[in-house]
């Protein structure tokens, strides 16, 4: 997976949002609201190819969760990003 070009993570009143800012995103008229862990993952993988396993490992590095939980969260988040159109499969 890879984050598509032209999306920028920004912070407003302490909350994270991803905004379409590239030319290819001129008609992307929505914003994705992210929690802290999603924003942490986004910052870690932006500009790189990544897998659900990479996201899982990143979650395990940072948070005290079981591998099972981290893996489920990572898979759910990846699916959500793909559905939102901000990540390619």
């Amino acid at each position: 997976m890879r984050i598509k070009d032209g999306f920028t993570l920004r912070e407003i009143v302490g909350q994270h949002v991803v905004i379409g800012e590239g030319l290819s995103q001129v008609n992307f008229n929505k914003m994705i609201h992210m929690n802290d862990s999603a924003a942490y993952l986004w910052k870690s993988v932006v500009g790189k190819d990544f897998s659900v396993k990479d996201l899982t490992d990143l979650l395990l590095e940072r948070y005290e969760v079981t591998e099972e939980k981290a893996s489920a969260d990572a898979a759910a988040l990846a699916a959500k990003w793909i559905e939102a159109g901000i990540v390619t499969e």
Binding site: R10, L23, V26
Partner: protein
């Protein structure tokens, strides 16, 4: 005879140079904004018979919907060129060549000259001032009780209609601008300024008021108003702000200004019908909280 005229809109000075006196007579929307002081120009536009487009590379081709104008963008070795047409299925009639920092523009037009000049000045204004606490907004703006109320929405959602309902039904209301007002943060206070650009409504008022509220208009089968969170307000105002977000300095400027405005001003979503009650419901809420 070549003539140059200088204008000031929301405190930003710019000039227009052209040598066609008939055209000047059609540019009366700029008359209230004539400026004769000595402040430095933020940008200048000159109408020229020809522009050099060598080295042009396509950057963005618009896909205008019904009734929307076309603006295609190309890069040049030393700047950009914006190619424009009043409607998507009409041929390109204006070529605006601008420097990388949007301070110097040259416009060649073959038809629809007034459209091209207005469009070129609006583009240059939005892009040049994006990093200067200023945003050009696609909105209709009504003033009441010394405060400006902005109505946002996609083309055809009823921004102008909602303004006109205030003018008819809410005493003390008047129209500041019907299509492209400017918000500028001055001494920490977001203010709305009238501009020479007001869509189909000739309303060119050189005046400004603090923003009372920002209301997104949404057609619905009933009248209901909802307060937005700061993040929702940001999404609402950002999507109605002009600017080429693919240029990082513009995206950064827009983000800074829009996020500051929505932390200082209440934002709403107004589900509404095009009726008098819509203006009542909206004004009851926003005038009380402004």
């Amino acid at each position: 005879m070549t003539e140059k005229q200088t204008y000031k809109v929301a405190g930003h000075v710019f000039s227009l140079t052209l040598d066609n006196s008939a055209l000047w007579k059609s540019l009366t929307n700029y008359s209230p904004f004539v400026y004769e002081g000595g402040e430095e120009e933020a940008f200048s536009l000159k109408i020229v018979p020809e522009v050099d487009l060598s080295g042009k590379e396509q950057l963005f081709v618009s896909e205008p919907e019904n009734g929307e104008q076309r603006i295609d963008i190309h890069t040049l070795p030393d700047g950009y060129v914006f190619e424009m047409a009043p409607l998507g299925d009409l041929p390109i009639c204006g070529w605006l060549k601008v420097s990388k920092d949007f301070s110097v523009g040259h416009l060649m037009t073959v038809s629809n000259k007034i459209f091209c000049i207005n469009n070129a000045l609006m583009l240059m204004y939005a892009f040049r001032t994006a990093g200067m606490d200023t945003i050009e907004i696609h909105a209709s703006c009504t003033v009441n009780s010394g405060r400006a109320f902005l109505f946002l929405g996609k083309s055809g959602t009823g921004k102008s209609t909602h303004s006109s309902l205030w003018l008819k039904n809410i005493p003390g209301s008047w129209l500041l601008n019907d299509d492209n007002p400017v918000i500028r943060i001055v001494d920490g206070v977001p203010r709305v300024y009238g501009t020479p650009w007001s869509g189909k409504t000739p309303c060119y008022i050189n005046d400004n008021y603090p923003v009372g509220a920002i209301v997104r208009i949404n057609q619905a089968p009933k009248n209901e108003i909802h307060k937005m969170s700061v993040v929702e307000g940001f999404a609402s105002l950002y999507s109605s702000s002009s600017g080429l977000r693919a240029i990082k300095s513009i995206a950064d400027g827009l983000f800074a200004t829009v996020s500051s405005v929505v932390q200082k001003v209440p934002c709403y979503l107004m589900d509404c019908l095009p009726d008098a009650e819509a203006a009542q419901v909206c004004s009851n809420e926003v005038l009380g909280n402004a």
